[in-house]
């Protein structure tokens, strides 16, 4: 254990280990915020882990009509994959099945970056030759943007020709909250999630932002790549290798992906501070982070560097 504390809550002197990923953002608009959110929610479903789902995705923020290309309410969605090709595959499937199908939606690039991912230019084939492209000048940037207009049964699905993947996206920032009771610890994690999500360009892809089944690399069962993080399972306390003290009854984890390494660091910082501020009232025992010994991911976020409320130089490579 450690002598680090924040707001009276012990913070283990360890680090979260995170990975370089391919990341992109799209903007989904609709006539009403409700339907923009429905489309975004469906598109980001089954996207908790890139290993099992092909992508990690989440809703970054809601956008006012003044912030979207077509002047309608919108939602910005972030999508992460192992590499650009995998990301493209997932983006096409998710836009094709969840955005194209949703009444009234349109879809635009939500971030600039060096890697082009063809989106509208690929989905246009659904238009069976009736789709048309339009190149219009963006009044904000003064640059031309190309859109595909695909005839559908409620009019047209309008989708930007391509979106861009950023360099420097990071996936896997995390915090583990060690608590006494399930309801109390869940409340702490919820507060942490709310704070972490408030950081622009960061998402928490698990249900409600929280994961209870943290994993370790490998397994006793042959062929399993990952298995339960037994060191943090309260029912396995007392065995060799446990990391839990006797008072810990539940552990919940949050996982953070962001378009930048700084985004992960600031999101973790916000979550750590929010969780420890609420921790004393909810029986929080300690906060720690998950890593694989530092050998798998090049981004290490040391909790000791997140204790200050001010951003520092903690983000980045080890």
């Amino acid at each position: 254990m450690t002598d680090l504390t924040l707001n009276g809550i012990p913070v283990i002197d360890t680090f979260a280990e995170a990975f370089d990923v391919a990341g992109t953002a799209i903007i989904i608009t609709n006539d009403t915020p409700k339907w923009a959110m429905i489309a975004a929610t469906v598109m980001t479903g089954f996207a908790t882990s890139v290993i099992g789902c092909g992508a990690e995705a989440g809703i970054d923020c809601e956008l006012s009509p003044e912030e979207t290309p077509d002047g309608r309410p919108g939602v910005r969605v972030l999508l992460f994959g192992f590499e650009p090709n995998g990301l493209k595959d997932q983006l096409l499937k998710r836009v094709g099945q969840c955005i194209l199908t949703c009444p009234g939606t349109a879809c635009y690039a939500g971030v600039d970056g060096p890697t082009k991912i063809k989106l509208g230019g690929a989905i246009r084939y659904f238009g069976d030759g009736f789709a048309v492209a339009k190149r219009l000048t963006d009044p904000v940037t003064g640059k031309a943007r190309r859109y595909w207009r695909i005839p559908v049964m409620d009019g047209e699905f309008l989708c930007e020709d391509f979106v861009r993947a950023v360099d420097g996206a990071v996936g896997g920032g995390n915090l583990l909250f060690l608590g006494r009771k399930h309801a109390d610890t869940l409340k702490v994690a919820e507060i942490a999630v709310e704070a972490a999500r408030a950081v622009p360009g960061a998402i928490l892809p698990f249900p409600g932002g929280i994961v209870r089944s943290g994993s370790k690399v490998g397994a006793r069962t042959k062929g399993m790549m990952a298995s339960t993080n037994d060191a943090y399972c309260p029912t396995l306390k007392g065995r060799a290798g446990t990391e839990l003290s006797a008072e810990v009854g539940v552990v919940l984890e949050i996982v953070i992906d962001a378009l930048t390494s700084d985004g992960v660091a600031e999101s973790m910082r916000a979550a750590l501070h929010a969780a420890t501020e609420a921790g004393a009232a909810h029986g929080l025992v300690a906060v720690t982070a998950g890593n694989y010994g530092g050998n798998l991911g090049r981004h290490h976020y040391h909790l000791k560097n997140l204790l200050s409320k001010e951003p520092g130089s903690e983000a980045g490579a080890a």
Binding site: K134, T137, R149
Partner: protein, 265 residues
């Protein structure tokens, strides 16, 4: 700002293809004065027709226009040209970037084959503005052509890309259009005749070709984007795009992926 002042009405048509801010930048006034601009047997030079005041800047002003000044700003690849007066044919033809502004009127084929930049005609334009010259593959090809006054017939004939904004235009606007956008307050007969793709927006039109079919009124996201992109250039055209419109699809005698939007009565 460099200035060329026309001394008097030229005795023959002048070709100003090579009179751009970029081409004049490296020349002294004496060298520039020797640039050939005549198209007849007189061998007229720039200095024969204009008084020159050059400073090597990106801005060139031509004071005193004439309908005999052809290819002003043609093949322009940067900088700004402003003509105080009229110009002749092929204004800004094949230009790639930069801007050309004419305070008077322009002759035929303005903006033909222009791939970038902005051409503004504050007066009227002749026939085939933004249209293809004979045997050319395309008319306007990515540039923005703004005509405050009226344009003649065959506006945007065989245009391939870009935007034409015009007050009024004659018959056959957007004929044989390959793609692109034309927005006008009023167009003459047969807009979009033979168009393959592209968008024509008009406050009113003459007779439509029978190979266009009405598809009704539609509240499309595309119209919102079009209105937003037009507003910095012309609020009146943007309001037109944002208003109630009837859509006609065509020309079904060809590919049929074009559209004519007309303000609903």
């Amino acid at each position: 700002m460099s200035t060329l002042t026309l001394r008097q009405e030229p005795p023959e048509r002048l070709d100003l293809l090579h009179v751009t801010p970029l081409s004049l930048r490296g020349l002294s006034e004496a060298e520039a004065a020797r640039l050939p601009v005549g198209t007849g047997r007189r061998g007229l030079t720039l200095g024969d027709c204009f008084t020159l005041a050059l400073d090597g800047s990106d801005d060139l002003v031509i004071e005193g226009g004439s309908s005999r000044l052809d290819r002003v700003g043609a093949a322009l690849s940067g900088g700004r040209i402003r003509v105080v007066g009229d110009v002749g044919q092929r204004l800004g033809a094949g230009m790639q970037s930069g801007s050309v502004t004419v305070t008077g009127s322009a002759g035929p084929f303005a903006g033909s084959g222009a791939t970038g930049g902005t051409i503004t005609i504050e007066g009227d334009a002749g026939d085939h503005a933004g249209g293809a010259v004979y045997a050319a593959k395309a008319g306007l090809d990515g540039a923005t052509l703004v005509i405050h006054g009226a344009a003649g017939d065959y506006l945007g004939d065989r245009m391939r890309r870009g935007l034409i904004l015009v007050g009024r235009a004659g018959a056959y606007a957007g004929a044989r259009m390959i793609a692109g956008t034309i927005a006008a307050m009023h167009l003459g007969d047969h807009p979009g005749f033979g168009m393959r793709r592209g968008t024509i927006l008009a406050g009113g039109v003459g007779a439509l070709s029978p190979s266009f079919v009405e598809t009704g009124t539609h509240d499309l996201v595309f119209l919102r984007l079009l209105a937003r992109s037009l507003r910095p250039l012309s609020p009146a055209h943007a309001d037109l795009a944002a208003g109630a419109l009837t859509r006609y699809s065509g020309d079904l005698a060809t590919l049929g992926k074009g559209e004519v939007w007309v303000a609903a009565a």
